[in-house]
């Protein structure tokens, strides 16, 4: 099977880069959304909950198309980004990361919300009586206790990003070196005469990558749980 071809290496590198940045950039928003959903009450909360979970239930193509409408050069957000900051996201790997982030967000928030709900609030009270303010308490007690859930959320979103196809191809198309991630590359190969063998190789690579991510996270989660005394 080895060595990998340049085309395969390019797709792997791109997929990892897209997944890494999509997960990294959505992490603070994921924690923020989990906090809003688990700890606060406000009008329109169920609407926010629904919006966050929407990518789980609607066709990825729809997400990609909505991103295209919003973030395209003439779209309300994309137009502003382009005119004011000179940033273009469509047809770039950053756009692919954005599509992957939106698709992985509900999985990330779900895991983090569950872990936040499981945090014993009496420990937070204890921290307050010991002189830690609200934010200090969140940083020094709540976040460490949430760590296994945060890790789970990150891995789920990462895996989801590696596999993202529908929203990506709709939003940022299929550009080698920019937006042709592993799934897009597999799709391209299956559309090419004599591409079957190459497609199969990429499929195996995708499975191996996903397995490595899962095993790594299992190992990390076990270490974290031991630290927390469960």
């Amino acid at each position: 099977m080895l060595p990998l071809t340049d085309l395969e290496l390019e797709a792997i590198r791109l997929s990892l880069r897209v997944a890494f940045w999509s997960v990294t950039c959505s992490l603070p928003f994921g924690i923020g959304a989990a906090f809003l959903l688990a700890r606060t009450r406000f009008p329109g909360k169920s609407l926010l909950d629904g919006l966050i979970h929407l990518p789980l239930v609607i066709p990825p193509v729809v997400v990609g198309y909505m991103l295209l409408l919003l973030m395209g050069r003439r779209g309300p957000i994309g137009g502003w980004l382009h005119d004011a900051l000179g940033i273009t996201v469509i047809f770039t790997w950053q756009g692919a990361a954005l599509a992957a982030a939106v698709m992985g967000f509900p999985l990330m928030v779900r895991a983090m919300r569950l872990s936040l709900e499981a945090v014993d609030r009496r420990l937070e009270q204890a921290a307050r009586t010991l002189g830690a303010g609200r934010f200090d308490t969140f940083r020094s007690v709540t976040l460490p206790l949430m760590a296994p859930g945060i890790l789970t959320g990150l891995v789920l979103a990462f895996a989801r990003s590696l596999g993202e196809f529908g929203a990506t191809i709709t939003f940022v198309s299929n550009i080698p070196g920019q937006t042709r991630t592993i799934p897009v590359a597999i799709y391209t190969l299956t559309q090419t005469p004599d591409g079957d063998a190459a497609a199969l190789r990429l499929c195996i690579i995708a499975v191996i990558l996903a397995l490595i991510a899962l095993i790594l996270s299992e190992w990390l989660a076990r270490r974290l749980r031991t630290q927390l005394g469960n």
Partner: protein, 373 residues
């Protein structure tokens, strides 16, 4: 002073408090479970906001609904030892101890880590995780953690309730050292009268969300009308005393109390050490004349103050001296009362069959000497 006025509704439960006690020594909050004791502590700590109220501790107003003032818990500087410890599972014992210590200005760190570690004897535990500690060890670490935040007042919410009797006896001396060694006032929640007799300088008795009594332990125990509220139906007397001297030949210690002397089993306390004696009504008999030829050591001349009829028993309130001084209870049958024709004002002799002594001293090692016959 510690002043707490609060009106608060928690579902069906109505908290209506007006408490004012000196903020020094140990103030015990006593009462059955569900009386609202923990709510009082949470109000002080700022973990519970009353609908309206006023909280002032050692000259600082912490809550005043009239002026919209509420100091957040982290700025109140009140240490809190929770019933369940509430140690942070993600930190080592050392990390737990330093949690509050790190968050105060170094100029305010009067209490040092080494002192606390030595006092609570937790040196060997420092690198362990809370999950590897026994219940008693957890509670000691929790006390140390609260102490190292250098609080102006220490709140202890039934710190011994989750421990078995042996563990309790392991922790109580540490609390005594804390009280005597660091001079931090303590508010101590408990439903156990033994802990109160051993530790408390004053008691606030709670019932159904209200404080129904504030005063000394001795006075509280003498109040038969509080027996129901205290969940302690047995009449007994708690009297402050001090050690006079020891009789080594017979292994006895002589205690002096207002208007009387008692001999108890030899105690390891220096002369002058304050103690509290507990004498149950059923351990006291009375005689019309000074008896001779009996084995009971403690026979005190007393005056019958009044007689309380109580179910199948008659309780005699016996004054040790002619003033309002301390009282003993004697539990006798209605038959005996009739046969001896006992009336208020009679002078009789109290035969004390058993005395429990609880050290309430500073410094010296307290102990319990039971059942001297």
């Amino acid at each position: 002073m510690l002043t707490l006025r609060a009106n608060h509704r928690l579902g069906d439960f109505h908290l209506k408090l007006d408490i004012s006690v000196p903020s020094r020594g140990v103030t015990a909050l006593f009462g059955r479970s569900g009386a609202g004791k923990s709510s009082v502590v949470n109000l002080l700590a700022g973990l519970l906001q009353p609908d309206d109220g006023y909280v002032k501790v050692a000259g600082t107003v912490l809550f005043d609904s009239a002026n919209g003032l509420s100091v957040p818990p982290e700025q109140r500087r009140l240490g809190y030892v929770f019933q369940e410890g509430r140690l942070f599972p993600h930190l080592s014992v050392r990390g737990n101890l330093l949690f509050g210590h790190r968050r105060i200005a170094s100029a305010e760190r009067r209490i040092g880590v080494d002192d606390v570690v030595a006092l609570l004897d937790i040196g060997p535990l420092l690198d362990r995780r809370p999950r590897d500690l026994s219940g008693g060890e957890k509670q000691r670490v929790a006390i140390g953690r609260a102490l190292l935040a250098n609080p102006k007042l220490l709140l202890m919410d039934e710190p011994l309730a989750s421990l078995d009797a042996a563990r309790k006896n392991e922790i109580i001396p540490f609390i005594e050292k804390l009280r005597d060694g660091f001079g931090i006032p303590i508010v101590y929640v408990t439903h156990d009268l033994n802990e109160i007799v051993r530790l408390a300088d004053r008691v606030v008795l709670m019932s159904n969300g209200a404080s129904v009594f504030t005063g000394s332990v001795e006075e509280l125990v003498s109040r038969l009308d509080m027996a129901e509220v205290m969940d302690h139906p047995e009449a007994e007397a708690v009297i402050a005393a001090h050690v006079a001297d020891h009789d080594d030949a017979f292994g006895l210690t002589r205690l002096v109390l207002p208007g009387a002397e008692l001999q108890v089993r030899r105690m390891a306390l220096a002369p002058g050490a304050p103690v509290r004696v507990r004498i149950r009504a059923r351990d006291v008999a009375v005689a019309l004349s000074a008896p001779t030829g009996i084995s009971v050591l403690n026979v005190l001349p007393v005056r019958i103050h009044d007689i309380v009829d109580r179910r199948e028993q008659c309780l005699l309130r016996l004054a040790l001296d002619d003033t309002t001084g301390p009282f003993l209870w004697a539990g006798i049958t209605a038959r005996s009362r009739h046969d001896l024709d006992l009336r208020a004002g009679n002078r009789v002799y109290a035969l004390i069959k058993a005395v429990a002594v609880e050290g309430s001293s500073g410094g010296a090692e307290p102990e319990t000497a039971a059942a001297i016959r």
